[in-house]
């Protein structure tokens, strides 16, 4: 089938402002949006630029706005969009070129919340730190994050408030706060209780809708709010 793509273009070497390029491409309905972008780049316009790697929704490279919604181009099939598709870069990040955005601040927010296991007690040689299947299940959902940025750039709070750490950073803090092996919850909760933290969230659910991994992002943020209010470190 023939599909018409409108793609937002911006090359800082020559453009003063973004513009839309139009491309017609022959694809199968079961092709991915990423396949169509590759066809355009490879056979029509070699300057079209977007990040991509695994092409099946696991590396998090190709988050972009597809018909106005944050999606991974490799997880969306043409047949679900029809014959007119508009592609734009994620909102709220500086555009480096075309669909490629600057993710340095995004990763800086992530690092703020100490996204690594904190436990100073020796773990013992030749054995694991014990954890029950139930304890493991508590933070299962937030281990799925691939840091694509779809949730954070879907959140209207992050568009207007530079200080807000954003949903992705909070999701990764959640993954450790509720890990029974971790001892750093208080330090992370202190940051999350500050003006850059969870209280900025207005439960708009854009993040949850945008997450290509199906993580219940808003729920995770609400669990942290509840822990801050009650001091109870059990999210449910």
């Amino acid at each position: 089938m023939q599909v018409q793509f409108r793609i937002e273009r911006f090359n800082p070497d020559q453009d003063t402002k973004p513009w839309f390029g139009e491309y017609t491409v022959e694809v199968e309905p079961t092709d991915r949006v990423l396949d169509a972008l590759n066809l355009i780049k490879w056979h029509q316009d070699g300057t079209l630029t977007f990040r991509r790697s695994c092409a099946h929704g696991i590396c998090g490279s190709d988050a972009m706005r597809i018909n106005g919604r944050n999606r991974l181009a490799c997880k969306e099939l043409i047949r679900d969009y029809g014959d007119k598709i508009t592609i734009e870069p994620m909102l709220g990040f500086r555009v480096i070129k075309d669909l490629v955005v600057d993710m340095e601040d995004f990763f800086a927010s992530y690092r703020t919340l100490q996204p690594y296991l904190i436990n100073d007690e020796p773990a013992g040689v030749g054995r694991e730190r014990p954890q029950s299947p139930e304890e493991r299940e508590v933070f299962d959902d937030t281990t799925k994050c691939i840091m694509c940025g779809a949730c954070t750039t879907a959140c209207p709070i992050t568009w207007t408030n530079e200080d807000f750490l954003g949903p992705a950073a909070i999701v990764n803090a959640h993954r450790f706060i509720y890990d029974s092996r971790d001892q750093g919850a208080n330090e992370r909760l202190e940051v999350l209780n500050s003006k850059s933290g969870v209280w900025r969230c207005r439960t708009i659910f854009n993040c949850t809708e945008a997450c290509p991994r199906g993580i219940q992002v808003t729920r995770a943020i609400e669990q942290i709010k509840r822990t801050l209010l009650t001091g109870d470190n059990n999210p449910d």
């Binding site: 070497d13 790697s53 695994c54 296991l117 773990a123 281990t143």
Partner: protein, 575 residues
């Protein structure tokens, strides 16, 4: 721009980051990756990482070693397989201590499941050896190691692509040249030691589970510099790729009880591997699938068969194979709980690569002469622990065990050695190559050449090979290389020039393909992942040895290296 570090690690996947973790408290180290952090393909590994923890049933490292050797059709270097299976245990505990969220047994230990070719008591029956985190074990390894890098304040150079290796006239490695994709700038990285951990080259094939980034960069760069590549003819086709797309459906599907059926609904593995059935090693299962298709037993006469999970409890599929279920739903519009899933073998893993010893040091000949200061680990390397066919889960074991060993050895090397002086103009080769590509007329389109390469490699260097097909492929490669000399980069800018990146990658793919084909043509036998229809038997008398391919001005020259045999004499391989 000039940078000076004690050690440079190229590639931010499991091997590179595990090596970086060894520098936690000492040494000035930087990780250079052509991707953004956490985008590396280790993250796509699904099923598990094997270690003989024995958490659910009796298991021993030596059983793991035996399975690895037999799985590799006895081409495995047994000293390396012993290191792999012994140190896997400690490495898995180290990952757990770093925070990796493994699935758990009811008594709080790391849970383990069955995987292809992993057995108890030297082949009696499948054993629970694969430690796992749902079906995203690689994702959790990558995340956990990246998190350690943040904790240890590792320096990252993101979206910087290695384009050359630096060596002194005496053959000591003293750095790399990197192309900054974001800015177009050339970086000179001067280092005492360099680790290459850039992954595989599955993108030489049309249908592959590999990421677009897996183009064999480091293999090709070394090859061009006259260093050898080992056992390049051994490439693994994973039996269960999603039909046409090649997206991987983990062996864990079969570990949990899934069955492969032909178009008649038969469980045909009963005829090919009566003991292990669907959990036979991947080379055997992939060949069996192709034999069924050739016999007209594909589904509706087409070139695919079915993966059947429909008899498994829905909660097993949802809880233990959630990502895979989502792939099937997203890309096929099918539900694995109720529908049969169309699958075909997909190009998955390079057993061959840059020859190294068990410390990760790159070697250059049959006597294992070392290149001082140069290391390789992970899929890019050939230790060789996988021999002619890798067992499922052993890639992740390889990453952490040999990434760790390489990191530790580099730390020692760095303490005892100084920086070797660079040439006055160390980046001249890289600049010349890039200038040519940028200034060429765009007479030929690189994408056309890449697509043709992938189709022909799939047809003539895939699961089945013949001298005739490989010779045809050699001529085709010569034609494609000639056309490549007339490719010009269409994007003339400096910012984020991914057209330039893809063109450089195409050059690497072409060189790596030449090495694959040369090895496949030379090895006149069938072993593991290399099957020659004109030489269908394994030939230990002539071919129980590794191949080494050298690029010379007169073409590719083949050398060889003995296989290290310590505990297990080669035997016939049945399952």
């Amino acid at each position: 721009m000039y940078h000076r570090f004690d050690a440079i690690i190229v590639g931010a996947g499991g091997a590179g980051l595990m090596a970086a973790a060894q520098f936690a408290s000492e040494g000035d180290v930087a990780v250079v990756s052509k991707l953004y952090p956490t985008r590396s393909h280790t993250g796509a590994a699904q099923g598990g990482i094997s270690a003989a923890l024995g958490n659910l049933e009796e298991d021993h490292w030596i059983w793991h070693m035996f399975d690895t050797v037999k799985g590799g059709d006895y081409l495995v270097d047994q000293d390396a397989a012993e290191v792999l299976s012994r140190e896997a245990i400690d490495a898995v505990y180290e990952l757990e201590h770093m925070g990796l969220p493994f699935n758990r047994t009811p008594d709080g230990k790391i849970d383990q499941r069955r995987f292809g070719g992993h057995t108890r008591n030297y082949g009696e029956a499948a054993v629970r050896r694969a430690c796992y985190a749902a079906d995203r074990t690689g994702h959790m390894i990558l995340q956990t190691l990246y998190q350690q890098g943040i904790k240890n304040q590792v320096r990252y150079f993101n979206e910087v692509m290695m384009v050359d290796l630096l060596m002194t006239d005496d053959g000591v490695c003293n750095g790399i040249i990197g192309l900054d994709i974001q800015t177009g700038e050339i970086h000179i990285f001067h280092a005492k030691a360099v680790l290459l951990a850039t992954g595989g080259f599955g993108r030489v094939f049309k249908v592959t589970s590999n990421a677009l980034a897996l183009t064999g960069d480091a293999c090709a760069i070394l090859f061009r510099r006259g260093l050898p590549l080992e056992d390049m003819e051994f490439f693994q086709f994973h039996p269960t790729g999603i039909n046409k797309l090649g997206i991987l459906l983990s062996e864990a599907c079969r570990g949990e009880g899934g069955i492969i059926r032909n178009g008649k609904g038969e469980r045909f593995m009963e005829r090919y591997a009566p003991t292990l059935l669907d959990l036979a090693p991947r080379d055997m299962v992939s060949r069996s699938i192709h034999q069924e298709i050739r016999a007209g037993n594909g589904v509706d006469g087409q070139d695919y068969v079915h993966l059947d999970l429909t008899h498994l409890p829905a909660e097993v599929i949802e809880q233990k194979l959630p990502d895979i279920s989502e792939f099937v739903r997203t890309y096929m519009g099918l539900d694995p709980i109720t529908d049969l899933v169309p699958i075909q073998p997909t190009a998955h893993y390079a057993m061959g690569g840059i020859p190294t010893d068990v410390e990760g040091r790159v070697t250059v000949d049959g006597d294992n002469t070392v290149v001082p200061g140069l290391y390789a680990a992970g899929e890019v390397a050939c230790v060789s622990v996988h021999g002619a066919n890798r067992l499922g889960t052993n890639s992740l074991v390889d990453l952490v065990v040999f990434g760790r060993r390489a990191g530790k050895h580099m730390l020692e090397f760095m303490r005892q050695n100084d920086h070797q002086p660079l040439d006055p103009e160390p980046d001249y080769r890289a600049r010349a190559e890039i200038d040519t590509l940028m200034s060429n007329e765009t007479e030929e389109n690189g994408a056309d050449i890449r697509e043709e390469l992938q189709v022909h490699m799939m047809d003539d260097a895939g699961v089945f090979r013949t001298a005739e097909g490989l010779q045809r492929l050699q001529s085709k490669l010569a034609e494609l290389k000639d056309r490549f000399s007339r490719v010009g980069v269409r994007d003339k800018g400096t910012t984020m020039n991914m057209d330039l990146m893809e063109t450089l990658e195409l050059g690497y793919l072409l060189d790596v393909s030449e090495a694959v084909v040369a090895g496949a043509l030379a090895r006149e036998e069938s072993r593991g992942g290399h099957f020659r229809e004109d030489f269908p038997e394994r030939d230990d008398a002539n071919w129980l040895r590794h191949t080494l391919a050298y690029k010379t001005s007169g073409g590719i020259e083949m050398g060889s290296k003995p296989v290290v045999i310590t505990r297990f004499e080669p035997k016939e391989r049945t399952y």
